[in-house]
Amino acid sequence: MGYVKKNRDFHEARWDEPFIMEMGNPGERGILAPKASEEVKKLSGSLEELIPANLRRKKAPKLPELSQMQVLRHYMRLSQETIGTDINIDIGLGTCTMKYSPKVHEQLVRMEKFQELHPCQDESTVQGILEIMYQDEQYLKAISGMDRVSLKPAGGSQAIFANVQTIRAYFEEKGEGDQRNEIITTILSHPANPGTAATLGYKVITLYPDENGLPDIEALKAAVSEHTAALMITNPEDTGIYNDRIRQFVDIVHEAGGLCVYDQANLNGVFGLTRAKDAGFDMCHYNLHKSFSSPHGCQGPGAGAQCVSEKLAKYVASPTVEFDGKKYYLNDNRPDSIGRLRAFYGVPSVLIRAYAYIRSLGADGMKQIAELSILNNNYLIKKLLETKGLSMPFAKGRFRMEQARLSWRELTEETGVTTDDICRRIVDYGFQDYFTSHHPRVLPEPFTPEPVETYSKDDMDEYVAAFAAIADEAYTDPELVKGAPYKAALGARIQEECLTDWSRFATTWRAYKKHMNRPEEQEK
């Protein structure tokens, strides 16, 4: 029997640290670089000559002036005010696949041999990383069943974007570019699917779930036509319910002449169990930083893999990594390609970790990932659903895959405590706040946990115990939960209006100062 800690009496560090832009004094320095000797100056010329006029600033940037020690202390304090995957039981971020990323992989990406590579180096000097990228592609072809994989995208949404570009290129070549101007997706798919489709000028047709929580197949039949370019769908959706009619969905769209794209950003529930190609899909994509283990969150680094069938292979982004039997090389001579998508090729640190992950697990290991993540999830749900006020809408009694969308609706109706309140309160228990739902919130008061394969039974029991305690608080002292957090780094509540009112957005320091100088803010 393991040990389940029920109340840690957790308290996060709270430094109330100012912005670094507000700190320091004129003249304070971290480094005083020695002046160049006369001899060197003679050889190098003056600074003005070295830097082209168009790259020279007219005025010095308004950067904070601080010594090394003050800077170090500032960031150490901020680091104490975060709750990352390595410090907490990070089960709450459903759809994000917050698995353990093996530390031995960090040794690989921190090797000098890798760190000092530059993307502008000659191909003959980077055969090692090209080989890894080439092998990654071969493995991902086997995992997806597809015929070509591009590792060019810098993240999941960019891979989806590349898939939509591929759809467009395919139909333009067929002479159906103008006619096929609609993309069908579902309300429970990731917003990047309708988002990229709309960005590339497609009409977006959205399907709602039927009473079983699966996309309404009759609505799909009504939606397809000679205008259908593609179906962009995921399985399972955020609800975790496996769509066992997925093959029928694909067939309906194919019959109408459209393509089918499988969003597999999160592969954890089907790793080694099913393959996109076998379900008839023409394309899919993976977020390699999720299922293939790179530390992620907080904007990166990520990497996307675009996987396509034979007929779409010529369209994927350029360059591709090829092997001529002797050497690896980047192929830019691909006239039908959708283009470069971004500079250079792939995000090598994530691609190395993915390579190491695949090699260390092997085919059987991957299958085990799916099996364990499904097993963990169904154990977690069963325990969580013993919590008063928490329920799981749709498909009652059916097992879920690797994640599930739950709802606090009952608890909210009975106590007034909302999912957002609980999300803040859970931080007082030493857990990161959880993922509620993508927008829009289709289900009321959502909560989407995903325990992946790396959490133990003890971990899950501790996690569940915290929610049971909070539900208890909600029914006995709702104000306690509504006033949370008390023991987190941030005592102050987020001013929601600053997140929704564009006129108050502050994306730069200058904008922030401008807002703060407004008279109505001064009063607060």
Partner: protein
Amino acid sequence: MTKVGLIVNPVAGIGGKVGLKGSDGEETQKKAFELGAVPESGKKAAIALRILKSEKDFVKIITCPGEMGENVCKEAGMDCEVISVPDESKRTGRDTTSDDTVRAAREFLNMGAELILFAGGDGTARDIMDAVGTSVPVLGIPAGCKIHSGVYALNPKKGGELAVRFVQGKVLRLKEAEVMDIDEEQFCKGIVCSRLYGYLKIPEEIRMVQNRKSGSVYSEEGAIERISDYLADTWDGEALYIVGGGSTTASIMKRMNLPYTLLGIDLVCAGQVIAADCTEKEILEAIDACASGKVRILVTVIGGQGYLFGRGNQQISAEVLRRVGKENIIAAASPDKMLSFLGKSLYIDTGDEEVNRYLTGYMRVIVGYGEYVVMKVSD
């Protein structure tokens, strides 16, 4: 100090518990009292007021005498200023009329009320709308038999919480919400005949107002703007458009710089309104006269019941629908409104079974710029 006007309709909802379908009209009210009905709207208003009391230093309540507000304030322990509408003789509240509501709401407006809180049902909402229109934010505490309008908080408690947020300056947006009512006489005979009477301006708040299920951070107004832009950009200049009532279609007309009838049917052709507030006959004549032969019907989903046709737009009759054809119907509504029908269906009730059958199945509804949802349509 925020000035909040409070109107309690003391007879709201009294018909409900004694099996009458509504409470409108003196006869019904008399009958309800005879059957032993006890007014509950005051209790519901008091729940909201007790929550609002937390802001008592920042809020000034103005209200009507006796049962129309004063007593509720006393019960909740909230200071208030009492106006002289209605007069002293109606202190018991049983003999107040809809005219008293109208006059009180007007008085609040004159006194500079920043929010009008009312406890009542659809009848009360209509009276307040008649008095103040959309000139001041209004919030309903649901207390009537008929709660078809979209102007109420989810429940009295939420009403109080939303009023607190309003007083704290945390309500960032207002939105227009439908004032609907059903004809009680018809309803008592088993015929549902609901009508859209107009709009009140209410605080837009996630989760606290009825009929808003999604927690989208995007405003309803922004969504309707995108729908309007899309329809304006794809408008067929040659076609005759039969434009149904409602604030969504009104926004589209505004975007096209066209005048509109909020609660009626307008006909648009070649960039102009060729007929306003039309009858079925006028619509049929216009279809006959349409040179291009291209006719479109543009409608929104009115009210919380999900009716596309047959509620509030009976002028677009079975005959009109038959002649225009299913493929030429354009439906548009905000994404939040559509999400409120998740797992449900939209409805049509044209009074003609054949046309009803013809229109059932699935239909696309425009919810953004080039964005649609596929909705089930039933009769």
